[in-house]
């Protein structure tokens, strides 16, 4: 078995076990906590043997498996507007269909942990789930990063809430809080995070051994779902080995790497493959993306720290990409363009997620007009298949790379 297969096989096995445990939750009596990916506090939940369920990940899986369209309609039938987030409607649709996900049945929540990081819709989403399920809702209020780093007051506020959340978890699960265990879990998180950063940095080489957008979204799944476990660390060790060997052989995701791009915004899940193809045919490889940072900006030096577990969870939670203010996000894009020697910036603006999309046109304005970075902005949606127009996207993507290629030709 090659390294490549080993990594894939492990991911498949680990995620398979995870979904199995969700299916078994009813029988095993394990308590179930729903939570969001950005700024999640899964380390804390693991200390109480609680099963984490990520509605966003369920929604994106439904998108890839082409179930989203029907589920979204179900939610619209009970009154959800066509203008609100497709992820939320997808999740409500799942609830209305007895939670039959592409990977089997999902358990009901015993506790809703709304880690409100970078997305106000999270609060509305879990308020709705609390309404429909009657489950307890804990809103973990995570202050927006208004300055470059969190203030002391910000940290104190989040840590105080984490302590309150630990009490709620102990009460829900019947498991007492063991701070030593939290240290062990956070050290596993740290190990995986370090390896992940090395993975991301591998894209600095030419050609890049992997696509830091279209492939990274799969590579980051274990970090978002299994963080704080041994298996997760092992997965990233294997992945890194594989990428290093690809690097040595000069192999990348496209036969010939012609354009290196930075991608901003989430992918259109229901049309993921065809969207990727539109880029691949031009020899485009993403070398960095912001979407791969929604689960944490580890490459900016924000890690879990077993020496200060609660404080590091608080810092981590405040440093998800969408919880950064727009000035910080813009600087990050500039950094990626430079650090990964990219030729262009691609912005995929999605209607569902205002947290991502409002401000992107302003990025485009600065980067394209003032700083001369070739920038393409295209619009569709991350969850709603109705907002994807293949012909239109193709036309724009072709025109963009046509002109980039032509300029390169003329420019010598």
């Amino acid at each position: 078995m090659s390294d490549e297969d080993a990594g894939k096989a492990l991911q498949k096995r680990l995620l398979g076990e995870y979904y199995q445990s969700l299916g078994d939750a009813g029988r095993s009596g394990q308590k179930v906590a729903y939570l969001f990916v950005p700024g999640n506090v899964v380390e804390l939940l693991r200390c109480f043997d609680m099963l984490p369920v990520y509605p966003e990940i369920n929604a994106l899986q439904c998108g890839i498996k082409k179930m989203a369209g029907d589920l979204i309609l179900r939610a619209e039938n009970i009154g959800y507007s066509s203008d609100v987030c497709g992820y939320v409607k997808n999740d409500i649709g799942l609830m209305l269909s007895d939670r039959q996900s592409p990977f089997g049945p999902l358990p009901k929540p015993d506790l809703l942990v709304c880690n409100y990081s970078g997305c106000n819709t999270f609060v509305k989403w879990f308020e709705a789930l609390a309404h429909f399920y009657g489950a307890e809702l804990f809103v973990l209020d995570i202050p927006y990063l208004r300055e470059r780093g969190p203030s002391t007051a910000d940290i104190e506020y989040v840590v105080a809430q984490l302590e309150e959340l630990a009490d709620v978890c102990a009460r829900t699960s019947g498991v007492p809080f063991d701070r030593e265990r939290l240290k062990r879990v956070t050290s596993l998180s740290y190990a995986a995070e370090k390896l992940w950063v090395d993975v991301l940095h591998a894209a600095r080489s030419r050609p890049s051994p992997f696509d830091a957008y279209f492939e990274a979204v799969f590579y980051m799944a274990p970090l978002n779902i299994l963080r704080g476990t041994e298996g997760c660390v092992e997965y990233y060790r294997l992945l890194l080995e594989e990428l290093v060997s690809r690097q040595k052989e000069g192999r990348g995701p496209v036969p010939e790497e012609k354009f290196r791009v930075v991608v901003e915004g989430p992918p259109p899940w229901p049309h993921f493959r065809s969207f990727w193809e539109l880029f691949k045919r031009w020899g485009v490889c993403a070398v960095a993306s912001t979407y791969s940072k929604v689960g944490g900006l580890f490459d900016q030096g924000v890690f879990h720290d077993p020496a200060q577990p609660m404080e590091s969870i608080a810092r981590y939670a405040m440093n998800s990409y969408t919880n950064w203010n727009l000035g910080l996000r813009l600087d990050l894009l500039r950094q990626y363009l430079r650090e990964y020697e990219a030729d262009a910036l691609i912005i995929h603006s999605v209607k569902s997620c205002r947290s991502f999309s409002v401000g992107q046109a302003d990025f485009r304005d600065v980067l394209a007009k003032e700083e001369g970075v070739p920038t393409l902005m295209v619009e569709s949606d991350l969850a709603d298949p109705r907002y994807y127009s293949e012909a239109q996207l193709k036309n724009r993507i072709d025109a963009f790379f046509e002109s980039l290629a032509h300029r390169r030709l003329v420019g010598g």
Binding site: L73, E76, N77, I78, G79, R386, S389
Partner: protein, 266 residues
Amino acid sequence: MISAGIDLGAGTTKVLLYDADLAALGTVSVRTRPDLEATATEALLAACDAAGVRREDIAYVATTGYGRYQIPERDLQITEVTCHARGARHLFPDTRCVLDVGAQSSRAMRVDDRGRVIRFRMNDRCAAGAGKFLERVARALEIPLEELPAVALRSTDPQPISSICAVLAESEVINHISQGKPVEDILMGAHLSIADRVLALLRQVGADGEVALTGGLARNPAMVKALELRLGRPLHHSDHSPFAGALGAALLGQQRLAKRNAGGGA
């Protein structure tokens, strides 16, 4: 006592006369002209002629439709939603859902056992879910409007039309033409795309129970078929369906008349 219901729509004006013995006397439908008042008067007189009654015999005039405020001689104006619901309930007593598909807009209503509107939704911002869309498709396919249903009903393999905008949907139609798809399949696709939009409105108000179709497109058998196909069950419709608005207005006129006679007259 005779009441008149006048439904002043953007395309056509419908008049229905109703007498106290609870029976419809006659109906008239004319094209709406820019002078709404003249259109209404003309249609009302034509209805009188058809029913063999005099204008003075009409004790109550209730107006509905977008021009309902433009008729000075009205006793009362009532919205088309309320009227269509009442009219549909009268025509099909067990109906709980009413779909009114017109030229410019579509509406879905949930009604109680007396025909009172409980919930309703309208599509009035985008023409993709209304009869106007069919007119444009007909133009693109160069088929006379009146032949649309017959042609569409010959379809064996309806072509999907997914665009949200009526104009862009038109280019999907053109695309299908250029790919050599049969005209009837494209047309049925257009009917189904309207059906999808209208039924989305219906689901938002609750689609269970019997469904009645009113409005101009109720007379288009291809539209009926498309709706039934997507709904998965038959729906009520009749030749009177386009007059449901006028009927509802006339019925509510009777209600007011009865009240007036019981109260003020005595």
